[in-house]
Amino acid sequence: MDAGPAHVSGTAGHAPAHPEPMSFWRKYVFSTDHKMIGMQYMFTGIVMGLLGGLMAYAFRMQLTFPGEAVPGVGVVTPNLYNALVTNHGSIMIFWFAMPVLIAGFGNFLIPLMIGCDDMAFPRINRLSYQIFFLSAVVILVSLVVPGGGFGGAWTAYPPLSASAAYNHTPLGAPLWLLAVALEFVAFLLGGINFVTTVMNARAPGMGIWEIPIVVWMIIVASILFMASVGPLIAGAVLLLLDQVVGTQFFDPRAGGDPLLWQHLFWFFGHPEVYVVLLPALGMTAEVMAVFARKKLFAYKIILYSVFATGVLSFVVWAHHQFVAGIDPRMAHVFTVTTLLISIPIAEVTFAYIATLWGASIEFRTPMLWALSFVAEFMIGGVTGIFLGASATDIYLHDSYFVVAHFHYTFFPIAVIGFFTGFTYWFPKMFGRMMNETLGKIHFWGTIIAVNFVFIPMFITGIAGDHRRIYTYQLFSQLATDGLGRLRLVSTLGLIVMLLFQLVFVVNLIVSLVAGRRAERNPWRANTLEWVAPSPPPHGNFAEMPTVYRGPYEYSVPGRREDYWPQNVPA
């Protein structure tokens, strides 16, 4: 036994830290098992993500056919339109991307990939999910209360968000804010748990440079989240007081300042982009290495670039506020920091592309998703430069160019990232293989359709379409046939994309029930989760693994096998 980090539950032949629960309620509902909590997060997130997608259907239809009843929804009033847009954004980020990518995959993968039997704080973990579930209930309730759901955009800028006299949603606005605050509490608990677990419970022999990159990235994301969310929680408390008690922290009539909220919000809001980006980036790297049969190109450079991105992400927030009324001289500072972030992110991209050099690429479904992440995310990356440059942002700010840009980052992050991870780890989660044909149909349908959704938005944005406007009929320069056709293409793309998700649902159900049984290591991968049985039992490993090498030793010269698991002695 070499000297590795302390191990939570001892070594070979151990007893699990807590006994295996047997009853249905203890096992599936009030579980403290990290795998079950991960699944709970993931499936709650999938349901919320589908709801968020259907919301997009409703408001895109209104935009394309203004004033007409939307099939299955009815007439979308301005009130409803604003509520749908607001909650689509909120749900996709806080109730789909975060729970699925960080909490879902983080919970499932971290103990398995670092070779321990559970999280450091299993009960805090359970509490984290319960609070998250409550927050999801509150956000859904906020949509159906009298007065309707909150419609002040996911950024919730006061004074609009601060007073029912302005937003006309006396219940929707405070409930929305409460839901967001609860969600933050849940993720703070989860973040503490992740960091503690990875610091203390790694398998013997796993030094910090033998940690799989997805675990690293989830940890960096958790730290970014915990470090950035404080100001926003403080701001949320002030805003809630404004809404409910009648204080005027953000209302200038009593000396408050609306811009204060913007600073508090975006100080969190920009690192938040990287909070959800990093886990997706990590999963992409894992999948690319396995299906390229290649060592990850320059693992340490990728990590250092990620650290640099994380640090820089704290000093770019005011690029959301170039035209918000801040001192014009400040814009230069934030233009420089924002454009500098392109350097580490470009390095990560180059390293991913370089990983393909000399590879032996097997285009299975998870690999298609991982590759499409790189291809699509680059569109989001380069279009960000137009917005980070203060002078062009004057024109493009709050236009559909922005919508297209951040969907080319968030769609790869949240949707492609989720499918990358889910199709790759499905055999480990459920002990069965997914159907490859259905998987590929789903992939191509989704990936082709999504470009039809968002590429037209770059053009309509440049042509002057502004965001969150529920009809363009009153604008002579925007109510043209040409722009109308582009909006129609977007909407049709969305409908096709949503329909293709049915293929995924069918594949999920068919594979869960009748999929081919998966062996322990169907992808011939190196990381420790593939040492455990599929699916892993309570306590994960029959014999706790010891780590002898880094996670990406593929195609090592002189070996018969083209992979070399971390736990196999030399």
């Binding site: 200038p252 408050g256 390229a292 320059a298 450079i301 032996s360 969150r468 195609s555």
Partner: protein
């Protein structure tokens, strides 16, 4: 590039469009290069029987240059773009020419109120001309505006001017523009302001000197 879709009607619209094109060319180069390399590698190194993957760590010096050279090139591009951006921003936002005319813009849920200074060129005098949702300006004159809001955040956006500025209650934000093309163009609110966010279309009417004088006379009677 933008001018194909939206006419340029202010003195600085050309600056912003130029910067847009510069960025488009720069990032377009990177985008095509990176996507090209990516798809070529995907094709070139697809799995073939009997061909194993290579063991490349990316830690040797001659391998690292695949990252470090593009890395320096990205820095060079960043420097160019930063300098160009700072220049355009200075021209548009900070180097404000002396005012020929003044106008006050007051946003509220859900309308624009425009206070034109009138013949004496001063705001707050009896000859001010107040209009709702329609701003009248004269060609080739430098306008300085005071932008205010009565209730929530709004944003004064005139795409043909390439001008956008949030209106913040409790603050008076100043800015400028110089119209360079006659016509009637849309003004939009660009910051969500509640139920009527889509219902506050304004128009800017850009007139020649004679037309503008005639309009002012008509307002006074």
């Amino acid at each position: 590039m933008i001018a194909y879709l939206v006419p340029q009607a202010s003195s600085y619209a050309g600056h912003i469009d130029w910067l847009f094109t510069l960025i488009l060319v720069t990032v377009g180069f990177w985008f095509l290069l990176a996507e090209g390399a990516f798809f070529w590698l995907c094709f070139r190194f697809r799995r073939r029987d009997g061909v194993a993957g290579q063991y490349v760590t990316g830690t040797r010096k001659e391998e690292k240059r695949w990252i470090s050279w593009p890395h320096y090139l990205v820095i060079a591009c960043d420097v160019v773009l930063i300098v160009a951006t700072v220049y355009v921003w200075l021209e548009v936002k900070q180097n404000i020419p002396p005012a020929d005319e003044r106008v006050r813009i007051v946003a509220q849920q859900w309308a624009w109120v425009f206070v034109h200074a009138g013949a004496d060129g001063k705001l707050g005098t009896p000859d001010d001309i107040v209009t709702v949702d329609e701003l009248h300006v004269q060609l080739d004159r430098v306008y300085q505006f005071e932008l205010m809001s009565k209730d929530v955040l709004h944003s004064f956006s005139v795409p043909v001017f390439r001008l956008k500025q949030d209106a913040v209650p409790g603050r008076t934000i100043s800015g400028w523009f110089k119209p360079t093309q006659r016509g009637r163009f849309d003004i939009q609110c660009a910051e969500i302001c509640g139920l009527g966010h889509a219902l506050m279309p304004g128009h800017v009417v850009i007139e020649s000197q004679e037309e503008h004088q005639a309009w002012m006379r008509a307002q006074r009677t």
